[in-house]
């Protein structure tokens, strides 16, 4: 007797159809084999299926069972084939036909219950897009599944419940769950207003949040680079529904979806491998740049990252996605993130600090800086040298009123919506993505701003790259002020944040 059960498997963050064929033969020695490039986790599935069926009060057929996972040339990994395999065998035991147009996806526990399985969101989207009527999946993954907006979800607690459903038509109830995506999940713990002083850095972060510009902080150890970087998330607007789905797909593919709508903040350690940063491995999973999609990628000790990792960032910074080609196929992961890079001014960290002695030789300092020169710097618009807070100014700053979190958030949100409106006919979302012709089109300078810019280019000997960065940053500053035309003051302010080390 042959049963065909539909399931699906993820290739990167996309799903493909997998047809699970279960053949149960009365003749021949009893055995249980899985074929179709199954790896160890799939291979072990037969023990889980066998035990789960037995423990659910059914007798496992003592026959020759062959399971084929088609198409047979895609390598299979993961534990979610447990449910389709078990369903095929249960259909034989109960002598029923499997439901039409239904997908089965989930991992079994030995007691017959279903466990939270990674990729449920992707499976829901797949079922929705390919018009499957139902998707049976573990109830433990219900929260993840609801955000897909798919009507045919069938959350299953355990095999016994599924048997009652398939055999006796008992209904599976889909409890409505709270959809967290509308809740503002930005924590106040890392709020930018918890940082005292550092008004210049906060201004830079506000500009970055508004225009999506990448930032680099240079400063001595302990000056507050990390805390500042973390606070960027608190002023970024929450993910909208479209962005949330993009992020959720990435996190679902590795089973890390938490269901809140805060923007991701990733801070990989500088010893990270090429594959860890960009994505890769077996099975191919997204890397840190994709986990930071629509959020913040914080790279502390920027020059300490390996050269190949730093250089490999160029393409994702430019295109907003990474394309990984392996012999098993090609994977595309989105990777539009705000980069916050932090580094010391020199290897010992105290170059230019008046109160500590720098012990680096000029050559060491040169070698350190060479690491972050070149094309990667093209893509960072905002640079800031952080200095140790002088206690004198620290005291005065307490009496100075600072902008509230709500004010900053409002200003950022407003300038983001201005950009949204401006670029509605373009492929880009914010000012940092402006390039060549678009800069000329959208960065309209007032006449005195133009004069100033020309003067600055000559006087400061600016490169083309710095020149274009200036214009983009000035555009964002103008947006923060709600000004349609870029004024002289906006250009003048943007000059403060140029690369000048």
């Amino acid at each position: 007797m042959l049963y065909k059960i539909n399931s699906c498997a993820s290739i990167g963050i996309e799903m493909v159809n997998i047809s699970v064929e279960i053949n149960i033969f009365s003749r021949g020695l009893p055995c249980f084999n899985i074929i179709g490039l199954a790896n160890k986790s799939v291979e072990e599935s037969k023990h889980r299926v066998y035990t789960a069926i037995q423990n659910s009060g059914n007798t496992f057929p003592n026959k020759k069972i062959t399971v084929n996972l088609a198409p047979a040339d895609i390598p299979k990994h993961g534990s979610f084939y447990d449910l389709p395999i078990a369903i095929g065998i249960l259909c034989h035991i109960l002598n029923i036909m499997p439901p039409d147009s239904a997908l089965f996806y989930g991992e079994l526990s030995l007691d017959g219950s279903l466990r939270n399985t990674k990729g449920v969101l992707l499976a829901c989207l797949y079922a929705k897009n390919n018009n499957f009527r139902k998707l049976y999946f573990p109830e433990a993954s219900l929260t993840e599944a609801t955000s897909a907006g798919y009507s045919g979800i069938m959350p299953v607690k355990n095999l016994s419940q599924l048997v009652m459903h398939l055999d006796h038509g008992e209904r599976i109830l889909t409890k409505p769950t709270l959809n967290n995506t509308s809740v503002d999940a930005r924590s106040d713990e890392d709020s930018i207003t918890n940082i005292k002083g550092h008004i210049l850095a906060k201004r830079v972060l506000t500009i970055s949040a508004a225009g999506g510009h990448h930032v680099m902080f240079v400063g001595s150890p302990g000056v507050g680079k990390t805390v500042l970087a973390r606070s960027l998330n608190s002023i970024l607007p929450p993910l909208n529904q479209k962005e949330y789905m993009e992020v959720a797909k990435i996190y679902s593919s590795v089973g890390l979806l938490t269901g809140n709508s805060a923007r991701p903040f990733r801070s990989p350690h500088h010893t990270i491998s090429h594959a860890g940063m960009l994505g890769g491995g077996t099975p191919t999973v997204p890397g840190e740049i994709s986990f930071a999609h629509r959020g913040v990628l914080f790279m502390d000790e920027f020059p300490e990252f390996s050269r190949s990792v730093l250089e490999a960032l160029r393409q994702p910074l430019e295109d907003g996605e990474i394309c990984i080609v392996r012999n098993k196929g090609m994977y595309r992961f989105p990777s539009k993130f705000s980069l916050v890079a932090a580094c010391n001014p020199c290897p010992c960290g105290y170059y230019g600090d008046e109160e500590h002695k720098c012990i680096c030789s000029p050559r060491q300092i040169n070698n350190y800086r060479i690491k972050f020169s070149g094309p990667i710097l093209d893509r960072i618009d905002l640079y800031l040298q952080l200095t140790t807070y002088n206690s004198y100014f620290f005291n005065t700053s307490t009496s100075m009123p600072e902008e509230s979190l709500a004010t900053i958030r409002n200003v950022v949100t407003r300038s983001r919506s201005i950009q949204c409106e401006r670029f509605k006919n373009e492929k880009i979302l914010n000012n940092s993505e402006l390039t060549g012709a678009l800069i000329d089109k959208y960065v309209v300078l007032s006449s005195d701003a133009d004069v100033l810019l020309k003067k600055v280019v000559v006087k400061l000997n600016l490169s083309i790259r710095a020149f274009l960065s200036l214009k983009k940053v000035a555009r964002t500053i103008a947006d923060l002020n709600g000004s349609e035309v870029v004024q002289e003051g906006h250009i003048a302010e943007s000059i403060q944040y140029r690369y000048h080390f």
Binding site: L200, P362, F393, T396, G489
Partner: protein, 294 residues
């Protein structure tokens, strides 16, 4: 042009001749003109010059070269380089004393500085023959030539264990007057100079201190001219808006970053940043290391 001058030669600088362990022979590059040695001041300091050190060096060297004084220094990073550069900018003559053969480039980056020293009729000298590499001890020995050539030695910034203090010691030994520029008691790079002052060196708080010592006929006209121009700048500013004026007045007293300006003035950082850039562009203020000054 290069060559050498022996101790016995009439061309040999008189000031250096008096020194007990004067080099037997001086190798040089450039046009040897004995008048260059008539009034030399050594300017030395830390390799890791701070912003303050840079300003001091620029000011002192600028004023000294106005009176035709030759600046002697060691062609090292930091204060040495700043001293040579400021001198050249002002079209003064400067002598770079190398710790190695005159043809040995121990740092390719500064070939340009070397050329511009020669272009302004300066000299590159060394007691070591051509091809001789720099060693730790040659840096030490080189310092005695700087001290020997100079009538006075100005130490701009120095750490407690720095080479500049060695130069100052040589100068003391040879009976030269040592000037040290007082600095912040918190700065690592002023501890050496403060120590010198503590031990009896003259404190140099203005280029006039050195000019007075050298007993030069100070031409006050050039200074009054400078003051006059700054008055017009203030007038110019007072008709501008008040934030610019406030910034200008603060920076006249202090060297501040834009962040510090904003905190003191209680103004939004964006406005301060924008104003500061405009003032920088119009030449009202200067910037170094993200700090602004007038």
């Amino acid at each position: 042009m290069s060559g050498y001058v022996d101790y016995e030669s009439n061309e040999y600088p008189v000031t250096l001749k008096n020194v007990k362990d004067a080099p037997k022979r001086l190798y040089y590059r450039g046009d040897w003109d004995s008048t260059i040695f008539s009034a030399c001041v050594g300017v030395v300091g830390s390799r890791r010059m701070t912003l303050y050190g840079g300003r001091v060096t620029f000011k002192f060297v600028h004023d000294l070269t106005c009176f035709g004084i030759t600046i002697v220094s060691g062609f090292m990073y930091g204060v040495d380089t700043a001293a040579h550069e400021s001198c050249i900018q002002n079209h003064g003559r400067t002598i770079a004393v190398l710790p190695c053969g005159i043809d040995v480039a121990y740092d390719g980056m500064r070939d340009r500085l070397l050329d511009s020293i020669l272009a302004e009729k300066g000299l590159i000298i060394s007691e070591y023959p051509e091809g001789c590499a720099a060693k730790i001890w040659t840096f030490h020995r080189r310092n005695r030539i700087i001290a020997g050539l100079s009538k006075a030695v100005l130490v701009v910034e120095a750490g407690l264990d720095s080479g500049s203090l060695i130069t100052a010691n040589f100068a003391k030994k040879y009976g030269r007057t040592v000037f040290a520029v007082p600095g912040s008691i918190f700065s690592e790079y002023s501890k050496g100079t403060l120590q010198l002052i503590h031990d009896g060196a003259n404190s140099a708080t203005s280029p006039n201190d050195i000019l007075d010592f050298l007993d030069l006929d100070v031409n006050t006209d050039s200074f009054s001219l400078k003051d006059a121009s700054s008055v017009t700048i203030i007038d110019l500013i007072s008709i501008e808006n008040s934030l610019e004026q406030q910034i200008y007045l603060l920076l006249k007293k202090n060297t501040l970053s834009s962040e510090e300006l904003a905190l003191v003035l209680h103004e939004h950082i964006a406005d301060v940043n924008s104003k500061v850039t405009l003032m920088l562009m119009s030449g009202l203020i200067s910037e170094s290391d993200n700090k602004y000054f007038v």
